[in-house]
């Protein structure tokens, strides 16, 4: 069995095993989940050393007939665009599972759905056949629905169904797009690599229409303005670990889809949409940041900051340069690490204080030094302080977009300022100022939380000081992509 299939389906094996265990054996369920997700992480980590950084071709390819009657293949492979995201997925899922060890009720179901979710996410990044891609894309919906709906906050049911219906509405149009592309190609195929060959013979109007169909599916997931309204709700209601995965991985599926599918397959449609895309990117950046500024709920603030950060990715893509593309990919990875950490940290304080209201705290830095340090680090990384990971992604996005979109890039810088402002405001209100005596019994970060946080924090610092290992993975592929439609 190919290593990519193994990475993707190990969590499924874990999920089935969990399902077979009696629900009283909670410790076993947790161990099994961690082991299978951990194996997946180890294998995807091993790819780091096997990955050929010099080529833009697909690697570790596995190709089997799946439904030969209609030309659907089981076709997996990774390149510099998808591999970093796979690594991100396995790492963040493992971290989230550690963070989930404090889930108290219905443990078996929780870990079952979480592992199924991991299968879907990994499959999306690894699949190179449009039908397979769609199947994995949809697989992520159901576990997410249950994870938010059962273990979430007060409005969890509403958040869960809103998430489900929103994303599904987008993706059914993607399905029509996939079918239309199939009938357009000759010979009919769902093979993404063949479809990504330049084919100027698809007329422009067709490409525009199909681009929009795909874009609807991706934009909801990103979420790009104006399809973002499900996100703050889902984030606020979801349990901590689910928020982590939602922000760190699921949002990336949308950006990945645009870069992988829309850009290469529908160049004319993509170019037609480019002016709109850059405007949407700027709106995401500024509007997301301003919304975050207005929040008193820390989780909601981080959720809106995700909308803002996805705007940077879109801006980088809209630049159509290798720099912009690598910025977008790097920003996806960095945002995954940093926002994952931020959601974990918000979860830490919420578990103890049962509130996330910024104004309810004050002077916590003296009481919770480790927590304050980690939170400050994550915030600074998120607002793009040089020396931490967030900086490089944002810088490359801006540099990549600037030659083509000077004004828009300039305007976007406002977003950076607002981001800085709301993170500093939050840090000030929560950690500085007079100590609120109500919280004198708060305990600092415990071992479980530290275990979950440390990998993210260490990587954030490491990639901030030395981003080359990440960029090396990405460079060959984005260089190839940027050269496609000169």
């Amino acid at each position: 069995m190919n290593i990519l299939s193994l990475i993707t389906f190990l969590p499924l094996a874990g999920a089935l095993l969990v399902l077979a265990l009696p629900k009283e054996k909670e410790r076993t369920v947790q161990i099994v989940s961690l082991v299978f997700s951990g194996l997946s992480l180890v294998l995807s980590g091993a790819l780091f050393f096997l990955f050929n950084r010099q080529t833009a071709d697909m690697q570790f390819v596995e190709r089997l007939p799946w439904i030969p009657s209609i030309g659907v293949q089981y076709f997996m492979g990774v390149d510099g665009l998808s591999y970093p995201l796979i690594l991100l997925t396995t790492l963040l899922t493992f971290v989230s599972l550690i963070a989930s060890l404090n889930i108290k009720n219905r443990i078996k179901e929780y870990f079952f759905w979480f592992l199924i979710l991991e299968v879907g996410m990994l499959g999306v990044f690894a699949s190179l056949d449009l039908v397979l891609f769609y199947v994995f894309w949809e697989i992520t919906l159901v576990p997410m629905y249950f994870l938010i709906g059962i273990w979430g906050g007060p409005k969890k049911e509403y958040a869960a169904i809103k998430f489900f219906l929103y994303t599904l509405t987008g993706s059914v149009f993607m399905l029509l797009g996939i079918l239309a592309v199939y009938f357009k190609s000759s010979p009919h195929t769902f093979d993404l690599l063949i479809l990504l060959q330049p084919h100027a013979n698809w007329e422009r109007n067709f490409q525009i229409l199909i681009f929009l169909a795909f874009y609807l599916g991706f934009a909801v997931k990103i979420p790009a303005f104006p399809f973002h309204t499900w996100l703050p709700l889902a984030h606020v209601e979801a349990p901590t670990a689910v928020s982590v995965v939602l922000a760190a991985v699921l949002l990336k599926m949308g950006v990945y889809g645009i870069m992988r599918v829309s850009y290469g397959m529908l160049p004319l449609g993509f170019h037609w949409f480019l002016p709109f895309l850059v405007v949407i990117a700027v709106i995401n950046i500024i509007y997301g940041a301003l919304c975050a500024m207005a929040q008193d709920d820390m989780k909601k603030m981080v959720a809106y900051s995700s909308i803002n950060h996805m705007g940077y990715c879109l801006l980088g893509i809209a630049g159509l340069t290798a720099t912009g593309f690598s910025g977008a990919v790097l920003e996806m990875v960095n945002h995954g690490l940093i926002t994952g950490a931020l959601f974990l940290l918000v979860g830490v304080i919420y578990d103890r204080a049962h509130t996330r209201d910024i104004k309810a705290f004050g002077g916590l830095a003296a009481k919770l030094p480790v927590y304050a340090g980690l939170m400050s680090l994550a915030c600074f990384a998120s607002l793009g302080l040089p020396g931490l990971a967030g900086f490089w992604g944002e810088l490359l996005c801006f540099v990549g977009a600037f030659p083509r979109w000077k004004v828009y890039t300039g305007v976007s810088v406002i977003g950076l300022l607002v981001t800085t402002a709301f993170f500093l405001r939050m840090l000030e209100k929560v950690f500085l100022g007079p100590f609120n005596e109500k919280w004198k019994d708060l305990a600092d970060v415990d071992a479980r939380e530290l275990c979950a946080l440390l990998p993210l924090v260490v990587l954030t610092i490491y990639l901030g000081i030395y981003p080359k290992p990440a960029l090396d993975l990405i460079n060959a592929t984005v260089g190839h992509m940027a050269g496609l439609f000169k």
Binding site: V135, L179, F183
Partner: protein
């Protein structure tokens, strides 16, 4: 007489049905379960005969029996699906507590006879045979729907079903008489050459078109297309649950089968100018079924409306009228049998529980906390519902994928008077309806997974009064036959969802060989 052998499955099943009625007289009431076993055995025997016939012919076209009817892979495919649903229904009946044991033989015989009707229907190429087959199905079904004599809803549903059925039969027979007037025969194929007489159909004028319209309406009633669906919710809600399950799949796919044969192959709807009409019917059926289902809080009614919507999806394939469409119709029909019967099996497990003094009913509230009473049942129900909604990697997705593909493909090659927008619009309405359907399917999941279990009849006991806490919710057990039925359905839904190639390849083989 030499091709009488082709009728062997139908003859055998009819004889076994008669045998059931005889056996009813001989077997005492307390061993009435034997009759159910006899019934599923009969259906399985017919199934085996058809399968054997198919393997002998190797998928080649089989001869026509005197122009009245035809035995081809498509008809055999629908017969297999019908018999499969009969077997699964009987399995459900074995576990169902509300059927009077004294009439088990009658019940089984009626079930078998209606199955014979469906088998004749999907093979028919003569309108009179179509009519007789439909009546055989309907009359048996009326009685089956009213089988719970002491249940007022059952009586009401049966009466409504009967009245609507009689009405639709009248429309249909009127259409057939017009057809006879226009064509001088009730045959749908040329009796001389036993082939299509398409050229002759072109010049037949308004009477002929009107005839085909009335016949279409007649089918519409039987397949519960909107706006001819009003009998469905009451009949389905009142009927004994296994009967509801049966009615929601078998007669529906049999009617779809004959509809596909008549309006896609023998008298193509495009030639009659019916494409847009059919497309509108399909859109309306999907939309009405799905929209009204949102507001139901009785699961039987909810699934009744859902089954209306499902017929709407299948109609997409008939509107598309291409090879992909026909394949889609076949695939979706078989898949629909598995997923809908599976869903009804879980409903029975929950609902019939109340009959034994537990806490069941067919209200949505009876599903509260099912995941904690039986995680397996709740997960299986989720699988069936998601498959009905068309989410991958479940079989329902493959079916919908095919149907939408057929619509887009038809749009690309649209010619004549029909604008491609009709097909594209149909596909868009179809996918949007899938989204709507997720809302109410997930409403059941919401009750199963999100809410705590409670003491039944819709009243949630306050927990401080010592009401059952979620952990103390009584475990729900179902009988072995019900689990067997569930296992078959789940295996089909998962297998055809994950590895649909065998199904698709077989359907592809059978489609080009139509008369």
């Amino acid at each position: 007489m030499q091709n009488l052998g082709l009728l062997a499955p139908e003859i055998a099943l009819s004889l076994l049905g008669l045998g059931l009625m005889l056996a009813d007289l001989l077997i005492p009431g307390k061993s009435s379960k034997l009759l159910y076993h006899f019934a599923w055995f009969a259906a399985a025997a017919a199934l085996a005969l058809i399968a054997r016939g198919l393997s002998v012919s190797g998928g080649l076209p089989l001869p026509v029996v005197g122009g009245l009817w035809v035995v081809d892979p498509m008809s055999q495919f629908f017969k297999l699906a019908v018999l499969l649903s009969v077997i699964m229904t009987v399995m459900l009946c074995l576990e169902y507590g509300q059927l009077p044991p004294a009439q088990a033989g009658t019940f089984c015989a009626l079930l078998i006879f209606s199955a014979v009707g469906m088998m004749l229907l999907v093979s028919a190429t003569d309108l009179l045979l179509v009519f007789v087959a439909l009546e055989l199905i309907s009359v048996s079904s009326f009685v089956l729907a009213g089988f719970e004599r002491r249940n007022h809803k059952s009586n009401e549903g049966a009466i409504k079903y009967f009245l609507f059925g009689a009405f639709s039969s009248a429309i249909m027979i009127y259409g057939i008489s017009l057809y006879y007037g226009a064509m001088g025969t009730t045959r749908l194929i040329d009796p001389q050459s036993a082939g299509l007489w398409l050229p002759a159909l072109q010049a037949k004028g308004p009477a002929f078109t009107l005839a085909m319209l009335f016949i279409l309406l007649g089918f519409g009633f039987k397949a519960a297309m909107a706006p001819m669906h009003f009998w469905v919710p009451d009949a389905y809600e009142g009927a004994p649950l296994p009967v509801t399950a049966f009615l929601s799949v078998a007669p529906k796919i049999a009617t779809i089968g004959v509809l596909a044969r008549v309006y896609m192959v023998l008298v193509p709807a495009a030639g009659l100018g019916f494409t847009t009409l059919l497309a509108l019917l399909a859109m309306l059926t999907m939309t009405v079924g799905n929209t009204v289902a949102i507001f139901q809080d009785n699961v039987k009614r909810l699934l009744a409306y859902s089954s209306i919507a499902q017929a709407g999806y299948i109609l997409i394939g008939i509107v598309a009228a291409n090879a992909l469409g026909l394949e889609g119709v076949l695939i979706y029909s078989l898949v629909y049998v598995a997923m809908n019967l599976g869903a009804f099996a879980v409903v029975q497990a929950v609902g019939d529980d109340g009959a034994r003094g537990g806490m069941g009913s067919y209200e949505l509230a009876a599903f509260d906390g099912l995941s904690r009473r039986s995680l397996a049942l709740a997960l299986l129900m989720t699988v069936f519902l998601l498959s009905l909604a068309g989410l991958p990697p479940l079989a329902g997705f493959i079916g919908k994928f095919y149907l939408f593909a057929a619509a887009l493909s038809a749009g690309r090659s649209a010619s004549g008077g029909v604008s491609p927008a009709v097909f594209y619009g149909l596909a868009v309405v179809g996918v949007l309806n899938s989204v709507v359907s997720v809302y109410y399917y997930m409403k059941i999941a919401y009750h199963m997974f999100f809410l705590p279990a409670h003491s039944g009849k819709g009243e949630r006991l306050p927990s401080k009064d010592g009401g059952p806490s979620p952990a103390a919710a009584p475990v729900l057990h179902a009988g072995p036959y019900l689990y067997g039925c569930l296992a078959v359905a789940a295996a089909a839904v998962l297998y055809f969802g994950i590895y649909p190639d065998p199904l698709i390849a077989n359907v592809k083989l059978s489609v080009p060989n139509l008369p």
